[in-house]
């Protein structure tokens, strides 16, 4: 990317000269050298593909023949004629609503338990974190499939039969794999908890606040930025779940489309059925929905996220 040669004559008052600064142009040049890989990636591998997929979403494209313009047909088909599409939307929403709150609640609970611990904290923290690294792997997804299958551990323990073959239960098995990976948000919660000044709890105790009152009046508000960060991150990730749903259903989204999450259906339309135009439309709707959800989360956050720096000008 090149900057324009026209010298920008802004009305900004000139800053006092800092000694030994190199000329501005030269320093700018250096910055662009450092930035060049990122600029190339952002344009060629992010912005350009986004524009291309927006265009393709209005076409019929099978990778072999040139794209054929069909206007809004992909979108109208998606919204009005494709029950599997709505099925995948509903499945994904159910999954997000099931997995994210459970995962975050467990993460918070364990973080609070570990916070007051003197010995063994580092051990537990690492041990609980490990599944977050392993859980995304195909290996664990296969374990999940076997453990929740007919004759698997869960079947033997509860006598419910294998969850992965039951339409109402298969998605729960997938969600539990996400809950199992509560370690990453837990570590973030724990770090946040440790930054809450002990004086606040002491002051609350002096005022006669019990454990529960302290949790509600000190922990929750002080932790709300971290809670918010985790909520946004985990929600966005949950919308894009793929591997466990693929493994549990052998790539089909079954039984009865009950694990057909959005990305799995997108993969099916785009890469199995070669409807790249349709898949592009799906991708754009996903992008807009995730964007909208993020904006809504940020908007509502103003009423419940408390930033200490708003009132006292920043903590240490």
């Amino acid at each position: 990317m090149t900057t324009t040669d026209v010298p920008a004559r802004t009305a900004r008052p000139s800053r006092p000269a800092v000694p030994k600064r190199r000329p501005r142009r030269e320093r700018e040049g250096a910055a662009w050298v450092f930035l060049s890989p990122w600029v190339l990636g952002a344009t060629v591998l992010t912005l350009l593909p986004m524009a291309v997929s927006l265009y393709l979403s209005f076409t019929d494209y099978d990778l072999f023949n040139p794209p054929r313009w069909v206007g809004l047909r992909n979108y109208t088909q998606m919204f009005t004629e494709d029950p599997r599409y709505w099925r995948s939307v509903l499945t994904t929403l159910t999954y997000v609503v099931l997995a994210v709150p459970l995962q975050l609640a467990l993460a918070l609970l364990v973080a609070i338990a570990l916070k007051s611990m003197k010995r063994g904290k580092a051990f537990y923290r690492s041990a609980f974190y490990a599944p977050s690294l392993l859980g995304a792997s195909m290996s664990i997804a296969l374990v999940w499939r076997a453990v929740f299958n007919d004759g698997g551990t869960v079947d033997n323990l509860f006598g419910t039969g294998g969850w992965v073959n039951k339409p109402g239960w298969a998605l729960l098995a997938v969600a539990l794999l996400t809950v199992w990976q509560f370690g990453a948000p837990m570590v973030i919660f724990l770090a946040g908890l440790q930054q809450i000044p002990a004086e606040l709890y002491e002051a609350a105790a002096v005022d006669g606040a019990g454990t529960w009152r302290q949790f509600l009046s000190v922990t929750v508000p002080m932790l709300s930025p971290v809670l918010f960060f985790n909520l946004v991150l985990q929600t966005i990730q949950a919308f894009q779940v793929f591997t466990p749903a693929f493994a549990v259903s052998a790539g089909k989204g079954g039984p009865a489309d009950s694990t057909l999450v959005y990305t799995l259906y997108l993969y099916d339309r785009g890469f199995v059925a070669s409807h790249m135009g349709y898949a592009s439309a799906m991708a754009w709707v996903l992008l807009l929905v995730i964007g909208a959800v993020t904006v809504v989360l940020f908007r509502t956050s103003r009423s419940w996220v408390f930033y200490a720096s708003d009132t006292d000008g920043g903590a240490r």
Binding site: L45, M117, M138, T153, I188, A191
Partner: protein
Amino acid sequence: MTSTAVAHKPVRRHRIALHLGCLAALLVMLYPLAWLLATSLKPADEVIASLDLLPGRLEWSNYKTAMDGVNDVSIWRLLSNSLLIAGGAVLGNVISCSLAAYAFARLRFRFRGPLFAFMIATIMLPHHAVLIPQYIIFNQLGLVNTYWPLILPKFLATEAFFVFLIVQFMRGLPRELEEAARIDGCGPFRSFFQVILPLTRPALITTAIFTFIWTWNDFFTQLIYLFDPDKFTLTLALRSFVDASSTSAFGPMFAMSVIALLPIVLFFLAFQRFLVEGMASSGLKG
């Protein structure tokens, strides 16, 4: 908190209960891993017939079968394919992300604010929104079924999360270091390579480890780009077991799963401090 003699006893009981609770939770958490290890050593007839977690006798031949690989591709081939992709990704991310991060953290340039905001926004961007056109681009270039689509993007700092991570770390370094370097006549390049980069090592290590693990675990990208069994990674090879649902293949399949997880477990044991700290700091400053 005032600790009186009266309060002492309940606190201690409380602590023991806490430890017991944590240990119980840990057992449940680790069960799938124990199950994996046990099943990888079970003889075929025990997989379904026996409900015991532990195998009656150890069937090491599962591992021998797994070593033979899948589709006539040996496990060494699969392993080295996985390593090549993960290694390339690590190299790419460390180089490109640290370069971009230095510019964002320390240099002034036009549009820095908007570009930084854009970079942050791409962290949130769903992978799938750019995936199809990327696939089409690489398809046009004849690079599908090669490793380029899996490695090249990492050299172009497309994983903004790591740029952000390194930016945050660099912002914590004292500016006096570069001021001193500049007075000594160092330009931005020398002060990057000789002053900043060595100090950024913890963030670079965190980047390297996370990149390795995420790339190693990655399934979606490999699934769409690679279809030649010769080029398969361990993850893709495991996937071919997904369709075969018969339990007779359980032993070798889970033996291979163990082998596929081993590098991650080793990385975790060796670098857990970096991983946990890296994860913790990503949230606090966000």
